[in-house]
């Protein structure tokens, strides 16, 4: 396998709230063009890690680099290069989809022409072009989540952080969301860091996963590799759920 370029690197990254470590000496890499699944139960520290990588929260200790930039030092530059879909993302209710995206585009300093072009293409990608003049307040949860993805796409980022992108979606909608994300990675070559506690939904698209429990990353690697290590079974005889439960019991 060729030597891959790490786009995100962390070393002993730590975040403590009131002396309690929410993220505990986390070290991992994400390579260019891959979908990295960041898995773990609620409260494992996934969101906290993403916030540190975005420069929205200061780490207590340790280092992080995103596209060669330290997010704690230069958050504005990092935020310009990353598209972020927050967990429980909200929208301005009285704006329509187009206006929402235009606001994002302007905040990113895009020219009017570029903004219009990118908004149209983003809306087409998430199939919301026909509904783009409706107020976001009337959108279903699935549509909002897709609009969230469109807000990521407008930035045309090299890297996207998607925090629980399938949370609260019915299985069918969740599936389409996952396929959408896979398409972005395949077609646009986007690197995706995706967090989820719903393993069965994301397992088929992640190239590599990291399993996080109580702020520590207990395992990382390709799923085949993890399965063999832990369950002693070969390919196709496991689900991510099983691997995960194994680690969970040990922790």
């Amino acid at each position: 396998m060729e030597q891959q370029k790490a786009i995100i690197e962390t070393q002993e990254l730590t975040k403590a709230y009131n002396g309690q470590a929410a993220v505990d000496r986390l070290s991992f890499n994400v390579n260019e063009g891959e979908i990295f699944g960041f898995l773990g139960p609620n409260g494992a520290g996934k969101t906290t890690t993403l916030l540190m990588l975005l420069g929205l929260t200061e780490p207590t200790a340790g280092k992080a680099r995103v596209l060669g930039v330290d997010p704690a030092r230069d958050p504005v530059r990092v935020k310009g290069m990353i598209g972020y879909l927050p967990e429980n993302m909200g929208f301005y209710r009285d704006m329509n989809a187009w206006q929402s995206l235009m606001y994002i585009a302007e905040l990113n300093g895009l020219s009017q022409d570029a903004a219009n072009r990118r908004i149209e293409s983003a809306l087409r990608t998430v199939s919301l072009l026909n509904e783009s003049k409706k107020e976001v307040g009337s959108y279903s949860r699935g549509m909002r989540q897709r609009l969230g993805i469109a807000e990521v796409l407008v930035k045309e980022p090299k890297v996207a952080f998607l925090d629980e992108p399938t949370l609260g979606l019915d299985p069918d909608t969740a599936n389409r969301m996952i396929e959408l994300v896979e398409g972005l990675c395949r077609v646009k070559g986007m690197t995706v860091l995706l967090s989820s506690h719903l393993l069965h939904q994301v397992q088929k698209i992640c190239h590599r996963v990291g399993i996080m429990i109580n702020g520590r990353m207990v395992a990382q690697g390709q799923m085949d590799q993890l399965a063999e290590e832990k369950l002693g079974v070969g390919r196709e005889q496991y689900t991510l759920e099983e691997i995960y439960m194994k680690y969970f019991r040990e922790a």
């Binding site: 504005v76 972020y84 993302m89 929208f91 994002i104």
Partner: protein, 318 residues
């Protein structure tokens, strides 16, 4: 810089399309029209058959038609404009989950506060400027006097001080919207501050001054003066007091000092009566400058606290 501009623009269009702004505007315009209409009627009646004093036009703002003059009205209700515009600035975005999205764009955190504050100041300017224009138009109609150049200047300075004053309350409301996650709590806290400064500071200043200087009756003017000084100094902790004192001298040129008469000696009062010519514009400004600076200083203080708190706050919505 780009961040501030974009946020400013968005907030402004939000304000202009909101019912909150519409109702606020309608209310303010109604009250000031009534006040000034009454004041105008009063002035015309008083001036019948009398030589016109200088600065008749300015009396529109200071003469109390029904209950209070416009200057008093703005001193008391102006804060509400600032509070209503700002009490849910940050916490609403936090509760709706839009704050993390906004802050994950390539902007500095303070751009959010600055953009929103400036949009509020713009709205305040629009409201106050239109109120003053309404009043001037009404004044032209009811008393039929055209303001002189100096009167226009004084009105302009009054407008600027009023905008600063209301902006202070806007800044305070934004601070509360950062400190409290619940919108109702921040609204209540802001109202509490308003009531505290409107009533308690003056009552408290009076009580405190009385306690410090026991009343020795009329035989001891010294202690009466001392008491008045203490009371004044204490009440200056209230932005209302700063505002009333500074605008009074600007809009009412016959006043030479923002202090009350009791603090002047007898001879001083006499000479004031004898030479009751108006203060020149430059002198008026000199007299009120310290008040204006204090007003700006407390606004800056509000901001400093807002920045300090907001920069360290966790932005996640839950």
């Amino acid at each position: 810089m780009n961040g501030i501009k974009v946020i400013f623009k968005k907030e402004l269009s939000d304000h202009f399309s909101s019912y909150r702004f519409l109702l606020l505007f309608a209310m303010i315009v109604m009250v000031s029209l009534v006040t000034v209409y009454m004041a105008g009627m009063g002035i015309t009646k008083d001036l019948e058959g009398v030589a016109k004093p200088k600065f008749v036009f300015l009396m529109l703002f200071t003469s109390s038609g029904m209950q209070f003059s416009l200057v008093q009205f703005v001193a008391f209700f102006g804060p509400l404009i600032g509070l209503i515009l700002g009490f849910d600035t940050i916490n609403r975005e936090r509760n709706e989950g839009t704050l993390s999205k906004l802050l994950s764009q390539p902007i500095y955190r303070d751009a959010v506060i600055n953009g929103k504050f400036l949009a509020g100041v713009f709205i305040i300017t629009v409201i106050m400027a239109s109120v003053m224009l309404f009043i001037s138009a009404m004044g032209l109609m009811t008393i039929g006097v055209i303001p002189g150049i100096e009167e226009v200047w004084r009105m302009f300075i009054y407008l600027v001080i009023s905008i600063f004053y209301i902006s202070f309350w806007l800044g305070l409301a934004i601070l509360f919207s950062i400190l409290f996650r619940n919108v109702a709590t921040s609204a209540l806290a802001a109202m509490a501050m308003w009531i505290f400064f409107s009533f308690f500071v003056s009552i408290g200043a009076n009580a405190f001054a009385s306690a410090l200087t026991p009343d020795a009756g009329e035989s001891d003017p010294e202690s009466a003066i001392r008491r008045a000084r203490i009371e004044k100094a204490l009440s200056l902790t209230s932005p209302m007091e700063l505002y009333t004192d500074s605008t009074a001298t600007i809009i009412d040129p016959m006043r030479r000092t923002p202090r009350s008469f009791i603090q002047m000696g007898f001879m001083e009062q006499l000479s004031m009566a004898r030479f009751s010519g108006p203060l020149s514009l430059g002198q008026s400004v000199l007299v009120v400058l310290p008040y204006i600076i204090s007003l700006m200083a407390i606004t800056v203080l509000c901001f400093a606290i807002s920045y300090a708190v907001f920069m360290r706050q966790e932005i996640r919505s839950l």
